[in-house]
Amino acid sequence: MNFTLTSAPIDPVALQRDLTHSSAGACVAFEGWVRDHNEGQAVLALDYEAFVPLAESEGSRILDEARAKFQVVAVAGVHRVGALRIGDLAVWVGVASAHRGSAFDACRYIIDEAKARLPIWKKEHYATGASQWINCAVRGDYVASNEPEKPH
C-alpha cells in the first residue's frame, strides 16, 4: 500500500483492517497524537502543511525500503494536513508480518524515516498567543526580536 496525506480525520480501525492477511501473525501500528505541550510551552493547536506530491512519493519510497529490509506482509502510512487540535491523530503507520519482531522493527523504521524525510511542516500555536514553525528557528531570531530600538 501507499503512503498518503489527508485533510480528513484518520480512521485507524479501517486502516488496520486493510493490513489483514492470512499469513500475518502480528500487527504493529504507531499513532502520533497532537499533545498539549512542547519544550515547556503550552500548545493549543497546530497546523500541518505539506508538499503533497513529494511527501506521498517519498513516503511510498520509505514503505518500499521497509518491505526490502524487513520480513513484512503489509505496510501503510497516513499523515494529516491542515488545522489539528489536541488529541487528534496526526500520523499513523501500520505493519503486518508473520512474527512480531519484524513488525516492530519495520514500524519504527517507517515512522523515524517519515519524520526525518517527508516535506511536512508543523506550526505550533501557544497559550501565550505566539506561534512558530518547528525546526525553523535560526540563531539570532531571539536577539533580533528582543533588541531595543536603536535611537535615531
Partner: protein
C-alpha cells in the same frame, strides 16, 4: 534566461507573502536561486538548511535548473 515557477511552503510562504510565483532568472542552480530570493525577500533560513525539489523530486543544491522547472524550496521538516 530560464523561466521558472516556484512554490513556497510554511515559513518561506509566510516570509515571501505568496504561495507561488513565476520568474525569469540568471541563476542556474537551486542554491544560487535561493540566495537571490533570500536576499530579495529577507528569508531567515540560510541556504544550508533548505533543500530543493525540481519537478517533484529532491535535487542536489548544485543541480542545473531546466527551462520551465517547477522549483520547491523545502525548509527543515517537522512531520509526525
Amino acid at each position: 534566461m530560464p523561466k521558472l515557477s516556484i512554490q513556497y511552503f510554511a515559513i518561506l510562504r509566510e516570509q515571501r507573502g505568496v504561495a507561488q510565483e513565476t520568474l525569469t532568472t540568471a541563476q542556474t542552480t537551486p542554491e544560487q536561486l535561493y540566495e537571490e530570493l533570500r536576499s530579495r525577500h529577507h528569508f531567515t533560513l540560510p541556504a544550508d538548511r533548505v533543500r530543493a525539489a525540481v519537478n517533484g523530486e529532491f535535487v542536489a543544491p548544485d543541480a542545473v535548473l531546466p527551462e520551465g522547472a517547477e522549483v520547491v524550496f523545502i525548509p527543515p521538516v517537522a512531520g509526525g
